[in-house]
């Protein structure tokens, strides 16, 4: 694997705002420690997730940022703003004093980028900001992350964000699962909670996380109730409903509806550590794409997960082998996470009874095949999570993914990125014969030829530009004219990405690379730009070749 900063001593990992994100960083943290056993890892995290970090085995130190208090202070206005400012001042000063030599910012937010600019760490694996406040993404893997999460491009990505984070940090060795310690105290508490139940069934204990992080990802309580009823009535299972106090608005109606002694709700009665222990005591967790799903994976309990609405299993699926993921087949999915949905039809593609059935199957052992017809491939694809030969997370369909029209593009992109960014050898790639490749492209991905042609034009113009820069007698107007032509080419490249959505990821990568050109010396800038055109051309050709090979 290609690596920029393999050696690290004093690492800051910024992962501030979400529990799931924090857990998804654990393979990277563990990997960094595996590759740099003497390194110290400090995690900067929002205060409410501080406790979780203490349960991550390889974290040496935790620095918490009280965002809630900061925002409340800002809202007070007047002196509140000064309080917030002073707090930032103190945080920055504290972090500067720790002399980190490497930082992986796993958040794409503007404020973490600014914070890292303020701290001034020399080597970065993720987002930071330049002196004028514009974002800087040094690592190409991090740029891939930014390109992939760009909504239009999401469906062409099959690399789990855990792996993209990991590669941003140049980490190759890593555990194939998320990491979380469960304390004995939490286990005892969980046992006490579970002992409250008056089970009449004696089947497996199935945990159900009914709450979701977004309204449109929230499967309805009625469907959950049907599923739970199936579990307790048909499968002799015992069900523990987990969740937060806020989620009781969802969970309590389910419990009332089923009205069975074999359903116990512990919602609102657990800390994250105690929740981990409850999940650990279960055989399987049934969930959406939630923080609890990541906890379950981290404590070694398989999940049956439904990825509704904007949730996308390839991107944020349960990071361990042997989980079952249901991804609806629907034209609008995965949808834009930033848009509300008044009619989430994807919810109806999943059958509650089938979900119960799958959970029972998984409770009995790894599921590598399912009875024909159990999951209708026209409505949803059932995947089993796994890892490929390079240690990257993947999902393999257990029914048929024939209804998934984007699979071939996704696979082609996967191979291209692993080869281009990771340096992994892909057997199927044809020799780099431009003429032949282009011929193939014409049969395959629309717009590729145009992209390649534009990249080549750009490269030629850069050659001219370099000549003009070196020629001290060249008139300024000539330089301006070439610059103008380059601007036009870049605009067209970006347009191609919009016109042919499948090319979105490569053109977006092109744009991010352009944004991150460093320095102010003309020749250096031209040279970097030339390399970016080369990258675009090479990636387009590789993409086309892989696409053709898959066919």
């Amino acid at each position: 694997m290609k690596r920029r900063y393999p050696d690290k001593r004093n690492i800051l990992l910024v992962n501030i705002t979400r529990l799931g994100d924090m857990l998804q960083a654990t393979p990277t943290i563990a990997g960094m420690k595996m590759e740099n056993p003497d390194a110290k890892v400090t995690v900067l995290v929002e205060k409410q997730f501080e406790d979780v970090c203490f349960s991550i085995p390889t974290v040496d130190e935790v620095v918490s940022l009280d965002l809630g208090m900061t925002v409340r202070s800002i809202a007070r206005e007047g002196e509140g703003l000064i309080d917030a400012y002073q707090y930032v001042d103190e945080v920055v000063s504290d972090l500067r004093g720790r002399s980190f030599d490497y930082c992986l910012n796993m958040s794409s937010s503007a404020y973490t980028a600014l914070l890292l600019k303020l701290i001034g760490i020399g080597r970065n694996g993720g987002w930071t900001a330049d002196e004028e406040g514009y974002r800087v993404i040094e690592s190409e893997w991090a740029r891939l992350f930014a390109s992939s999460v760009f909504h239009q491009n999401r469906q062409y990505n099959s690399l789990n964000l855990v792996d993209v984070f990991r590669c941003s940090a140049d980490v190759e060795q890593h555990p194939h699962a998320l990491q979380l310690k469960v304390t004995e105290e939490a286990r005892r508490y969980a046992q006490e909670l579970l002992a409250e139940a008056r089970w009449t069934n004696n089947g497996p204990l199935i945990a159900v996380q009914a709450g979701a992080s977004q309204g449109k990802r929230q499967w309805s309580p009625a469907l959950f109730a049907r599923m739970v009823r199936t579990l307790v009535q048909k499968h002799n299972a015992r069900v523990v409903m987990v969740g937060t106090q806020k989620e009781r608005a969802i969970i309590d109606p389910i419990v009332s509806e089923v009205a069975s002694p074999n359903v116990l709700s512990v919602a609102g009665r657990t800390t994250i550590a105690q929740l981990s222990a409850v999940v650990e005591a279960s055989k399987v967790l049934i969930t959406g794409d939630t923080g609890t799903m990541h906890i379950s994976v981290a404590v070694g309990v398989p999940v049956v997960a439904m990825f509704l609405a904007s949730a996308y299993g390839f991107e944020t699926g349960p990071y361990s082998a042997g989980n079952l993921v249901l991804q609806p087949i629907i034209a609008c999915g995965p949808c834009n996470p930033n848009k509300p949905c008044a009619r989430p039809d994807c919810h109806d593609t999943l059958d509650p009874e089938v979900l119960g059935e799958l959970a029972m199957m998984r409770a009995q052992g790894d599921v590598v095949q399912i009875p024909p017809g159990l999951v209708d491939p026209r409505r949803a694809v059932l995947y089993r999570t796994d890892f490929d030969e390079f240690g990257f997370y993947t999902m393999r369909a257990l029914n048929s993914d024939a209804g998934d029209g984007l699979r071939r593009y996704r696979d082609a992109y996967r191979k291209m990125w692993l080869e281009d960014l990771g340096g992994y050898q892909m057997a199927s790639v044809q020799p780099n014969a431009t003429t032949r490749s282009l011929a193939l492209l014409n049969e395959g991905i629309s717009g590729l030829e145009e992209s390649v042609r534009l990249a080549q034009q750009g490269r030629l113009l850069i050659g001219e530009l370099i000549k003009l820069i070196k020629d001290i007698t060249a008139p300024g107007s000539a330089l301006g004219a070439v610059n103008q032509q380059l601007g036009e080419i870049d605009r067209k490249i970006e347009q191609v990405g919009f016109h042919y959505p499948v090319l979105g990821p490569v053109t977006r990568m092109f744009c991010f690379s352009k944004e991150n050109i460093q320095g102010s010396e003309a020749l250096a800038l031209a040279s970097q730009m030339g390399a970016i055109y080369d990258d675009l051309q090479r990636r387009c050709l590789k993409l086309g070749a892989h696409y053709a090979a898959i066919a």
């Binding site: 900061t70 925002v71 206005e77 007047g78 000064i82 930032v88 503007a110 004028e132 977004q214 309204g215």
Partner: protein, 970 residues
């Protein structure tokens, strides 16, 4: 001896600092001294108005008896008398308000009071009440104990609103005495204030004392009593001040056989730290001398004036001035309103204020004049003859000066009062910090002498009345005083007062007595002192509200530009966008009254919009232009919030009379007319009314260069710009034979106007009429009149066009106006005419003499730019506002969260500077504003900018996450 509860409560409401009271430990108190103080103070009050200073039933004798019976019933509630020969004692009985109701119930009734004046009046009062004979006795007490009352002779002791104002040491001693004078099983019923300990200076015989309940009960126990109960006192007026923890109660005690402990022990139990002694008053400790009696008297004077009892009002005003101790409370507003009330009430009766003034003759005049002659620097004497006369009266300390029935020194003990006053003044925080004290009011000079002897600071004096000064130098040796004084100004200088010794290091101290007799001049002096400082030291947020439309609309913009130019914090409230809706009414409703109703409702709605705007972003001063659409309700609400409301009434008050209803809602009204206009608007209830003529904006009104085509379009040998009022139509019809263009609205379409009026009589923009001014050889400026032909012979105010033409460097012929001569010099800076005939002659003359026109316009423009810009006017307006509201606005600024924020930002210099910059341009320096400054900037981000952006993005992220949780992402 009782204190009127009503006023106590009122004073707390009206005066925000009255409740402040922090005490230092008191040393052993001299009870004799306190008793003497009580006697003097209460004798004075009783002499002024016995009923007023005692109770809420002061409006008539009947009311007094009625409230007395009510209060006695509350005190005696549930008491069963031991025998038919029971004896009641009231301590602090005043003139016996409560005791009449006790006559039928007790065989023997005794009233005792430290005030011999009160007892004298009580005896006279009850001499006419037969049933009191043989049953009622009044005794003058010594103010320390009850030695006049036999031991064990009383069944019930009562006291209502009397112990509450007595020094704590006296109260402690009285408690012991109650034990002595009562029989076994005797009862004591007292009206007290219990709750949060509330102590004042021991010398204060008026302000209430509030004791901690447990301490009072313990003190009573040590005095030999046990508590029966404590009940809240409820009267038709509010007597408790809950927000300050002060509860008015009735306390019932019964006598035990325990012997009282010493006065010191009881006193310590009651108030362990003791009351404050006058010498221990410290401004830095937060003590504030309230001047309660002065304040209460002023309010009473106002009430009397409102009732039409102007004689009593004047007496009470004089009384108020007599007990004024300090000018720390700004009483100018109330003084002005009382005086104007009195004048209004007296107007019908043509009452002359007669003062008995004797010429002051003395042997010190020559010596004092010699001492004055030696002074040359910082001395200005404007000894105008005929400026009135003052009277000198003798006291034990020496002569004192009286003017207009007002003693300018203490009427009896000027030396002691002056020392006490000086001590108080010097303890004020602002005075401690300053280097130079300027005293307004000299009187006979006692207080100035006291200040000079007690302070090393520079002391200057401004005495407005030459007569007072003359009386003083005649009656007293002031030679040393004159030697020591830093600056001295006597009399009214011509025009605007100027004092070369009044500088940025000066603090003005106003003697209320002098303020009372020379209010206007005092206002001008304050304007000079506080106004100039206010322009640089205060940064209130000032909103300018223009009308929906019309000629005044651009003036609102000029005022806003002027405020900006003066570095003031500006918030422009442009409501012109609401005008189009107003026009829609006419399409639907045709009946004028209905339209008016609708218009009122619409203005109310717009006013509410403004109120919401002020709620979102508070303003400190609201300057309304004439016709500004804001309702009385909203102005009242803004004033309640402490906003200073100002109206610049730039209209003819006789033609536009809405000031009658609206004046009352404004703290300041500025008019373009003098004389009766000012008086009438003041009488209509405006807080203060001042003359402020119109002006020009040199940024807009200026010479412009034009192309030939433009000159053809806009130019003419003779032009007029303005609406077609009656007198203009009548006058300009006679100019049809001239090359004459008329621009503006409301002109007839008949001959000759069909030819004269340009571009169909449309409304012009300022940019357009400035071109006309510039392109015209002779601009006519005839002030409008709807009633008269030609030139209005009684026209007074000067229209904006006069200043605008002058500033444009355009030649104008202006009709004669009485206020014009003080603004422009006729013949030199402007040319005026008194009749249409004269106007026509002048047109002919000046068309033929372009060089003369050029000379006059040049001088007119210079004068306009030098004295008549909106910046000059707004500066003057603010000086006047700041002179009265300096402390108010300063307090407001200091308590503003933004001020505290800016102060707290000081450790971060760039942040501090950014906050300050935002604040000074009229914004509250919140995160959005600060970030907006950053994102509109260029180049590298400073660390401060990065941190602010960081905060901005944190907030955005948190908001986004919250939205995502709800599935409601925008």
């Amino acid at each position: 001896m009782a204190v009127c509860e009503k006023w106590r409560r009122k004073s707390h409401e009206a005066h925000p600092n009255l409740h402040v009271s922090v005490c230092l430990p008191s040393a052993m108190t001299d009870l004799n001294r306190l008793a003497s103080l009580m006697r003097n103070d209460w004798n004075r009050r009783i002499s002024h108005d016995a009923r007023f200073w005692m109770s809420d039933g002061y409006v008539s004798e009947d009311a007094m008896w009625s409230t007395g019976a009510r209060d006695l019933a509350l005190l005696l509630d549930g008491i069963s008398l031991p025998s038919s020969s029971a004896c009641l004692l009231e301590v602090g009985c005043g003139i016996g308000r409560l005791l009449r109701a006790a006559l039928g119930r007790f065989d023997r009734v005794i009233g005792i009071d430290v005030s011999d004046r009160a007892i004298e009046e009580a005896r006279a009062l009850y001499a006419q009440i037969p049933e009191s004979q043989g049953h009622l006795e009044f005794k003058v007490g010594n103010g320390i104990d009850l030695r006049e009352i036999e031991s064990g002779s009383v069944d019930v002791v009562v006291s209502f609103a009397a112990l509450t104002s007595m020094p704590a040491d006296v109260v402690a001693n009285y408690l012991r005495e109650f034990h002595r004078v009562t029989r076994a099983g005797g009862r004591v019923r007292l009206q007290m204030y219990l709750g949060r300990e509330h102590r004042v200076c021991e010398d204060d015989t008026l302000h209430i004392r509030c004791y901690a309940e447990d301490r009072f009960v313990e003190a009573a126990r040590l005095a030999g009593f046990d508590l029966d109960w404590i009940r809240p006192l409820t009267l038709p007026l509010q007597v408790s001040i809950e927000e300050q923890g002060v509860r008015a109660v009735i306390v019932s005690l019964h006598r035990t056989e325990r012997q009282p402990l010493s006065q010191g022990e009881v006193s310590r139990a009651l108030l362990p730290t003791g009351e404050m002694r006058p010498t221990e008053i410290s401004e830095t400790e937060g003590f504030y001398e309230p001047g309660l009696e002065h304040w209460v008297s002023l309010n009473y004077a106002k009430e009397l004036a409102e009732r039409g009892d102007t004689t009593r009002a004047r007496e009470t005003l004089a009384y108020a001035a007599q007990c004024a101790r300090t000018a720390a409370i700004d009483v100018s507003d109330i003084l002005q309103s009382i005086q104007s009330l009195i004048e209004r009430k007296e107007k019908g009766s043509n009452r002359e204020v007669v003062t008995s003034l004797a010429p002051a003759v003395g042997s010190w005049r020559e010596a004092n004049q010699r001492a004055l002659a030696v002074r040359s620097e910082r001395t200005q004497l404007f000894l105008t003859p005929g400026s009135g006369s003052a009277e000198v009266r003798m006291t034990g300390d020496g002569p004192v000066v009286w003017l207009q029935g007002q003693c300018l020194d203490h009427a009896e003990k000027p030396v002691a009062a002056a020392r006490s006053w000086a001590q108080r003044i010097l303890s004020e925080g602002r005075i401690k910090e300053c280097r130079h004290i300027v005293v307004y009011g000299f009187g006979a000079g006692y207080h100035v002498e006291a200040l000079l002897s007690m302070s090393d600071k520079r002391i200057s004096v401004i005495e407005p009345s030459p007569a007072v000064f003359d009386a003083a130098i005649a009656g007293r040796d002031l030679t040393r005083t004159f030697q020591k004084l830093y600056g001295l100004s006597v009399g009214f200088p011509e025009g605007d007062p100027r004092f070369d010794f009044l500088d940025q290091e000066s603090e003005l101290v106003i003697r209320p007595q002098s303020q009372t007799v020379s209010g206007d001049f005092c206002t001008r002096v304050k304007a000079l002192s506080f106004g100039a400082r206010g322009l640089t030291a205060l940064h209130p947020s000032i909103a300018v509200l223009g009308p929906f439309m019309g000629g005044t609309l651009p003036i609102a913009g000029y005022c806003a530009r002027a405020l900006f130019g003066l570095d003031q914090r500006l918030r422009s409230w442009d409501v012109s966008g609401f005008a189009s809706s107003l026009g829609q009414f006419e399409k639907f409703v045709f009946e004028p009254m209905r339209r008016d109703t609708l218009r009122g409702a619409y203005i109310e709605m717009v006013s509410q919009v403004l109120l919401e705007a002020a709620t979102e972003k508070p303003v400190d001063i609201l300057i309304c232009m004439a016709q500004a659409p804001v309702s009385g309700r909203v102005l009242t609400e803004l004033r309640k919030r402490g906003v200073v409301t100002v109206l610049w009434f730039m209209e003819d008050y006789l033609r536009f009379t809405y000031w009658r209803e609206m004046a009352q809602y404004y703290d300041f009204v500025f008019t373009i007319q003098r004389g009766e206009c000012v008086d009438r608007i003041r009488a209509a209830g405006a807080g203060a009314v001042h003359y402020l003529p119109m002006a020009c904006d040199p940024g807009i009104h200026r010479p412009v260069t034009m192309s030939e085509e433009e000159r053809r379009r806009w130019g003419s040998p003779v032009s007029f710009v303005g609406a077609g009022y009656h007198n203009r139509q009548q006058t300009f019809a006679g100019l049809a034979d001239l090359p004459f263009k008329i621009w503006g609205t409301e002109w007839p379409t008949c001959r000759p106007f069909d030819r004269l009026v340009q571009e169909e009589g449309r409304r012009l923009t300022p940019e357009e009429y400035i071109k006309i001014f510039n392109a015209t050889e002779v601009n006519l400026n005839l002030h409008s009149s709807s009633e008269r032909d030609g030139v209005d012979p009684s026209g007074d105010f000067v229209n904006p066009r006069t200043f605008e033409l002058a500033a444009c460097g355009a030649f104008q012929l202006c009709d004669h106006r009485s206020h014009l001569s003080e603004l422009f010099e006729a013949g030199s800076e402007i040319v005026t005419f008194a009749s249409p005939r004269e106007m026509k002659d002048q047109i002919a003359y000046y068309l033929a003499h372009p060089e003369e026109r050029a000379r006059i316009t040049q001088r007119g423009r210079e004068r306009a730019l030098r004295e008549h810009t909106y910046q000059h006017r707004i500066a003057e307006m603010l000086r006047i506002i700041y002179s009265v509201k300096f402390d108010h606005l300063k307090r407001r600024a200091e308590s503003s969260p933004w001020k505290r924020m800016i102060d707290r930002a000081k450790p971060h210099p760039e942040l501090h500077q950014r906050c300050l910059t935002a604040f000074r341009r009229g914004e509250e320096p919140n995160l959005d504003g600060l970030v907006s400054d950053i994102v509109t900037g260029k180049g590298k981000l400073s660390e401060t900018e990065q941190k602010l952006l960081f905060l901005h993005h944190i907030r955005s992220q948190m908001v986004r996450m919250r939205s995502e949780e709800l599935g409601m992402k925008k």
